[in-house]
């Protein structure tokens, strides 16, 4: 069959969905999840005070935790809704559950100051990233983020 393919070289016929050559990458969601963990650490570590700077700093930490959790959910939702389709779900039917977990944990990360919940969010986003890169045919590795909170992140091996 290979020799047949050499004679009749097939031409690509594009059956595109969405915007052709769309750019998708879960790294934004992973960084957002890391930021949530980092903000939880910062909130817990901040020494309580009546000083106006305390309230300013605390409110900034909370605001960043809120916005990063929202960003994480949005980035995953876009990849799930636009890139993930029936062929990918056929290979990884667990993607719906992982995505739903991320939505729930993103909400929990906003409601609470819980490192356990924030880490659970990061773990689920990493699972999503590992599947995403496998679907792209790109190997992955797990490494500590080279900045605080120094937690495990799934990176593509390029």
């Amino acid at each position: 069959m290979n020799s047949l393919l050499n004679v009749f070289k097939p031409e690509s016929a594009h059956a595109h969905c969405d915007v052709p050559c769309g750019i998708y990458d879960p790294i934004v969601a992973q960084i957002a999840a890391l930021s949530v963990v980092r903000m939880v650490d910062q909130i817990v570590a901040l020494e309580k005070s009546d000083d106006v700077h305390y309230f300013n700093t605390m409110s900034r930490y909370v605001a960043v935790k809120e916005s990063e959790a929202i960003k994480c959910k949005e980035e995953i939702r876009i990849i799930w809704g636009d890139f993930i389709k029936a062929p990918q779900l056929e290979k990884h039917p667990e993607l719906h559950t992982i995505t739903h977990n991320i939505m729930m944990l993103g909400g929990a990360a906003k409601q609470q100051v819980s490192r356990e919940k924030a880490m659970a969010l990061l773990d689920e986003v990493n699972k999503f990233a590992a599947i995403f890169w496998e679907l792209k045919g790109i190997a992955t590795k797990v490494a500590k983020s080279p900045y605080l909170p120094n937690e495990d992140v799934v990176y593509p091996v390029l």
């Binding site: 016929a13 594009h14 595109h16 389709k85």
Partner: protein, 95 residues
């Protein structure tokens, strides 16, 4: 003239999956394009595209994918009939 195409993308899933090979023939070789046919045509920005014919009115062909977010005539309009380059005859199984 017979031609071999390899599918790129998922807009015709589950009919054709990414990477599958299909055999096509030029419509002028005694074959008329009709609704439900799978056809190819050239899009300047993408190259050769493959879609299913939904309808033909006068000389304009409305093509679409089987996926709801397929980029097709719902996005770029109809294709002139004379720009349909190939009609797919069948998929080569097990490849």
């Amino acid at each position: 003239m017979i031609k071999l195409f390899r599918i790129v993308g998922d807009s015709l899933y589950p009919l054709y999956k990414e990477g599958e090979l299909v055999i096509a023939i030029r419509p002028k070789y005694g074959l008329h394009v009709k609704p439900q046919d799978i056809v190819t045509f050239t899009c300047k920005s993408v190259g050769v595209m493959i879609k299913r014919v939904r309808s033909i009115e006068n000389t304009q062909v409305f093509v679409e994918g089987t996926s709801p977010n397929s980029v097709d005539s719902r996005v770029f309009g109809t294709i002139p009939l004379n720009e349909i380059s190939y009609k797919i005859l069948f998929r080569i199984p097990f490849l």
